[in-house]
């Protein structure tokens, strides 16, 4: 269905270079976006994709090189300049305002006013129309922060896609979406293309990129490596250029069937019985065995993310009991109590996990400070431990003193994981552990998780990406509408079967 309307160059960048505190993040980048094309952008974590897009969207105003829009040189001083020029961006990290209502978020910066006063009625009606156009069924008055992450992402997409922008930049828009939501997004992209809008689509899901794009460009190490028509290349071509010569890396290979392990004979580390949180999940029982990775898969909103939160003491349980090593875990005491019981949790949102302005080593040591020194800090020991993890996880750039907020998205995720690797918990709950990671980093996570499993802890991986669960789990539970719908154990499983069960 690729009827290309792509025509005139709409946006042309040449010789773009960008430094952060002296470190080169982009250099000599040329990039052309044509009218009416979907342009896929791929590259490893830290390749510079987000940085380039932030330059286009006016977020980074200081850079070298030239940008032309409609053939005329432009230089945006801030995001508003870019928006006024018809450029809209959905950032990799959600940038919705959690406290504001859905309606306010959808119309952020473009609230309808009557004689200078915001008209709430018109605002809600207009937001309703935009949300409907995108098939999102939420109350426009609800605060965005109260929605599940997937819906928040949809709200943000609705804001940008329907803002009337001519150039739409989507930085990993699908990582929090369920497959049906992704389909809706792609359908909308096709419609937008027909009306002559241009889209930049960044994703680590290479199949998706090849499917929706007209043109693809590969980035590596802050440089543009190569571009091609999407129908002229395949996934292997992309991966080869992403990782560079000399590497032989396989992409995700879960298109086919794989066989799961038999039911473990090891002791149960965590047993949850008849857990309920009204409206989210009902009567869920499960056991996690020592030395296994249990995957819990479900569409966005099926309750699996909430289940993980509840097991971590983040969501008060209405009924049920959780035991760790046979001891009742008193989860009412919140996360510290869960940690004491031996349960550690890595949530799906990095914003909720990292101290952006603190150096990497403090972000890693925070969970184990009491083991390093009861009263006094021992920064040297903290650094040493952190350095070890930075090495073994391949976190880039490799220093431990840089504020973690300056790392690329995928590298931030690794830092969040590193936190739990020093003094192992009994049970590790990982919510969407590979979101936003490139092929190589995903392999690293698989390696880390296998290592933890082999050390005898029970790992629970909760995700709405079939690939994530398939690549990590030894045993899989599928959740549907707040209940466990099916267990896969010791049998062949594939993406199709998972989707069918969900």
């Amino acid at each position: 269905m690729r009827t290309s309307l792509a025509g005139e160059p709409l946006l042309e960048l040449s010789g773009i270079a960008k430094r952060f505190a002296g470190v080169l993040a982009l250099s000599g980048v040329d990039f052309t976006l044509r009218a009416g094309e979907v342009h896929g952008l791929v590259g490893e974590n830290g390749a510079g994709k987000s940085t380039l897009m932030k330059i286009i969207a006016g977020v980074h105003a200081e850079y070298e090189g030239e940008m032309r829009l409609d053939g005329r040189p432009v230089r945006f001083r801030n995001a508003r300049d870019a928006r006024d020029a018809g450029i809209g961006m959905v950032h990799q990290e959600l940038s919705t305002v959690p406290e504001l209502s859905v309606a306010e978020n959808v119309l952020l910066g473009a609230q309808p006013t009557r004689m200078g006063v915001v008209s709430w009625r018109r605002m809600r009606a207009q937001a309703r129309r935009q949300l409907d156009a995108f098939g999102i069924d939420v109350d426009p008055r609800a605060p965005v922060g109260s929605l599940p992450l997937g819906l928040q992402q949809m709200v943000e997409l609705a804001r940008v896609l329907l803002s009337g922008a001519r150039i739409i930049i989507l930085d990993e828009p699908t990582s929090a979406l369920s497959p049906p939501e992704v389909e809706r997004l792609f359908a909308l992209l096709a419609r937008l293309r027909e009306t002559g809008r241009s889209t930049v689509f960044i994703s680590h899901f290479l199949d998706d990129v090849l499917r929706v794009s007209d043109e693809v460009t590969v980035f590596r190490n802050g440089r543009r490596v190569e571009g091609a028509r999407a129908d002229a290349v395949d996934k292997a071509w992309l991966i080869e250029r992403m990782v560079g010569a000399g590497h032989e890396r396989l992409g995700e290979s879960h298109a086919g069937e794989m066989r799961l392990a038999d039911r473990p004979t090891a002791p149960v580390v965590m047993a949850a019985e008849r857990l309920s949180v009204p409206g989210l999940f009902e009567d869920v029982s499960l056991s996690v065995y020592a030395g296994e990775v249990l995957g819990i898969y479900g569409f966005m909103g099926s309750g699996q993310l909430e289940l993980a939160r509840a097991l971590a003491g983040k969501l008060p349980l209405d009924g049920g009991a959780v035991r760790v090593d046979g001891q009742a875990a008193r989860l009412r005491g919140g996360t510290p109590a869960a940690k004491r019981a031996g349960i550690a949790f890595v949530p799906e949102s990095r914003r909720a996990m990292l101290f952006a302005q603190e150096p990497v080593y403090r972000n890693i040591s925070i969970a184990i400070l009491e083991r390093i020194g009861r009263v006094l800090l021992r920064p040297r020991a903290e650094r040493r431990i952190a350095e070890g993890h930075v090495q073994s996880l391949g976190i880039r750039p490799a220093g431990v003193d840089r504020p973690v907020g300056q790392l690329s998205g995928g590298n931030q995720q690794k830092v969040a994981l590193a936190r739990w690797l020093t003094h192992l918990p009994r049970v590790l709950l990982l919510s969407e552990p590979t979101r936003g990671m490139d092929v190589g980093a995903k392999d690293d996570v698989v390696r880390i998780v296998r290592g933890l499993r082999d050390a005898g802890i029970g790992v629970v991986v909760v995700s709405s990406e079939p690939e994530t669960v398939l690549s990590l789990a030894d045993r899989i539970l599928v959740m549907r509408r707040g209940a466990i719908a099916r267990e896969f154990v010791g049998e062949p499983v594939s993406k199709d079967r998972l989707l069918a069960a969900a």
Binding site: K339, M353, A367, A398
Partner: protein
């Protein structure tokens, strides 16, 4: 795999400076003020005047130490002055007063009176901590209520009278001196030092910064956020109480409302010093600079014979300016760190 260009070239000095705005602005202000007053008034830059300035900021300093803990957690304590006042009055209430002072009081031995005072301020702090962490009342409102409660306790205890006596130890620490150095300056210095050591070198101190930096992330890392915030509020009450007891000795009397200026002074000192109102950034070093800026300003304006009514306005403007810098520094910081992948 994940590689990026990490050839660290020279960090441009401008970028580095901007990142340090929070710490540099107050220091530059301090130096500028000292230069200004030294140039315009011969009596300003003298050793005895330095001692004056230090003495004038000492009580504020003790209060500001506790407040620094609270503000670093991204909370606020508006009850500091009132808790100081109540504690000072409580100690006087527990001490034998001159027959001319017509207050029905409860005389105890000096050390017991001091213990009583400390217990009193800790009790007030515990109520604040309970309200904020257990009930979930925003600290801004909770401590506003505590401000009024403290005032109420003062009113009930002194009933409009003035008491003069405090235990002898307090008298020495509050108004005595060792050699040329007033004891109160020594106490303030020690309090600042202990505060600094706790914040920089202890696990608890790290937690304070982490809770202020990102509360949700702290919680996810298994930090007992409520306990940390509660402890900060208790520390603040304790510092305020200590300042209140010493203040009574310093002023030579205990009466209603005598600490009222200290609320604004202490908050100003912390904020002018550059500790972030949004939590997680700053520290005792900043507070010291802030205290000196305010102290030098107050004292210097007297030396250049500034209209004392205009002085009040000037202090307000300085606070406003500090707030602007504070928020601006935060915004720069947010932009600077907005990598977000």
């Amino acid at each position: 795999m994940t590689a990026s260009i990490a050839a660290p070239t020279r960090i441009s000095p401008w970028v580095r400076l901007r990142g340090q705005l929070r710490n540099l602005a107050p220091l530059v202000t301090l130096v500028a003020l000292i230069a200004l007053f030294s140039a315009t008034s011969p009596s300003f830059a003298t050793l005895s005047n330095l001692s004056n300035v230090l003495q004038q900021v000492s009580i504020t300093a003790i209060i500001a130490v506790g407040l620094t803990f609270v503000i670093l957690c991204a909370e606020i304590d508006l009850s500091v002055a009132s808790v100081a006042n109540a504690t000072g009055i409580l100690v006087a209430f527990l001490t034998v007063q001159d027959a001319s002072v017509n207050i029905p009081n409860l005389p105890l031995p000096g050390w017991l009176a001091i213990m009583g005072g400390l217990a009193g301020c800790l009790a007030l702090g515990a109520v604040t901590a309970f309200g904020v962490t257990r009930i979930g009342i925003p600290s801004f409102i909770m401590t506003l209520a505590m401000l009024q409660i403290g005032n109420g306790i003062c009113a009930l205890l002194v009933r409009g009278q003035i008491a003069y006596s405090v235990p002898p130890v307090l008298l020495t620490l509050g108004s005595g001196s060792i050699g040329p150095v007033p004891w109160i300056v020594v106490v303030a210095g020690l309090t600042l030092l202990v505060g600094h050591l706790v914040l920089t070198y202890t696990r608890f101190g790290r937690y304070i910064y982490m809770v202020g930096g990102n509360r949700e992330a702290a919680e996810h890392s298994g930090v007992g956020v409520k306990a940390v915030v509660g402890a900060a509020l208790l520390i603040s009450a304790l510092c305020s109480g200590a300042a209140g007891m010493l203040g009574v000795a310093y002023f030579g009397s205990a009466q209603q409302n005598q600490f009222d200026n200290y609320l604004l002074d202490a908050i100003s000192a912390v904020v002018v010093g550059g500790t972030s109102l949004f939590g997680g950034q700053g520290g005792i070093g900043n507070t010291i600079v802030g205290l000196l800026v305010l102290g030098v300003l107050n004292n210097g304006l007297d030396h250049v014979r500034m209209d004392s009514f205009l002085k009040i306005l000037i202090r307000g403007l300085v606070l406003l300016l500090a707030l602007v810098v504070n928020v601006y520094a935060q915004r720069l910081r947010a932009k600077y760190r907005s990598a977000g992948g």
